[in-house]
Amino acid sequence: MKQRLERATGQHPGDSPIIKTSVRLLVPFVQLFGLYVIVHGHYSPGGGFQGGVALGASFILLALAYDLKTSIRHFSEGANAVLANTGALIYTGVAALCAVMGGLFLDYSALDKLIPLGPIEWRSFGIFLVEVGVGLAVMSIMVSLFWDISSGGEMDEGL
């Protein structure tokens, strides 16, 4: 028992080739599913929030199976901050653009004056733009929440 404990403390806990390989195979499919949920958010259950959480969960899964450094190498802190702000900016930008173009806040049919596609098409396309913004913001915030909590804000080693 003691020998096993020493061997277990010597290496990173949960350092198993089975987990690493299965996570490496699983992560692209999780990300594809997250993108599918975001893109189909206005026809079917799901949307920006759920798809963003699924995308963020794929990076969290990577950090759990490997370590925090691998996760940060695949999705850097700078890119994380830029994507979070871009997502919030897309959301508020589309909403404010509707108000500037003469409609109400988040009234997408007003964007018809900018690019004439027809108000009904704009209502469908505007919610898609907003979903993309929400998805980006939620993904980045979920990943940075996990990084900060698991490493105590140090970003050097964690779960």
């Binding site: 949920v37 259950p45 799901g46 949307g47 929030f49 759920q50 959480v53 699924a54 963020g56 969960a57 969290i60 759990l64 979920m142 929440l145 996990f146 909590i149 698991s150 105590g152 964690g158 779960l159």
Partner: protein, 81 residues
């Protein structure tokens, strides 16, 4: 909606909720809380609220369990009270 299935899942939800607040080991409490979230997701999907069930499955059973485990890693595993 099948009321027998609803009743069974609801019973399991109540059992999981009581187990979460009574268990002393915080890691066990977190895992039971994940089970609770997943059962709530099943209940919502069964009652027709697929969107809410989706949110519960991703956030409740997925992210919050991981965040709780990450928080427990930074504190003690045993509950004092």
């Amino acid at each position: 909606m099948i009321w027998q299935l609803d009743l069974l899942i609801l019973l399991l939800v109540v059992v999981c909720a009581l187990a979460t607040i009574t268990v002393k080991d915080l890691l066990s409490a977190t895992i039971i809380f994940g089970v609770y979230s997943f059962l709530m997701c099943l209940l919502w999907a069964e009652m027709g609220a697929v969107d809410v069930a989706f949110t519960e499955a991703t956030v409740g059973a997925g992210i919050s369990t991981v965040l709780f485990i990450a928080a427990i890693l930074r504190t003690n595993r045993r509950s004092k009270d």
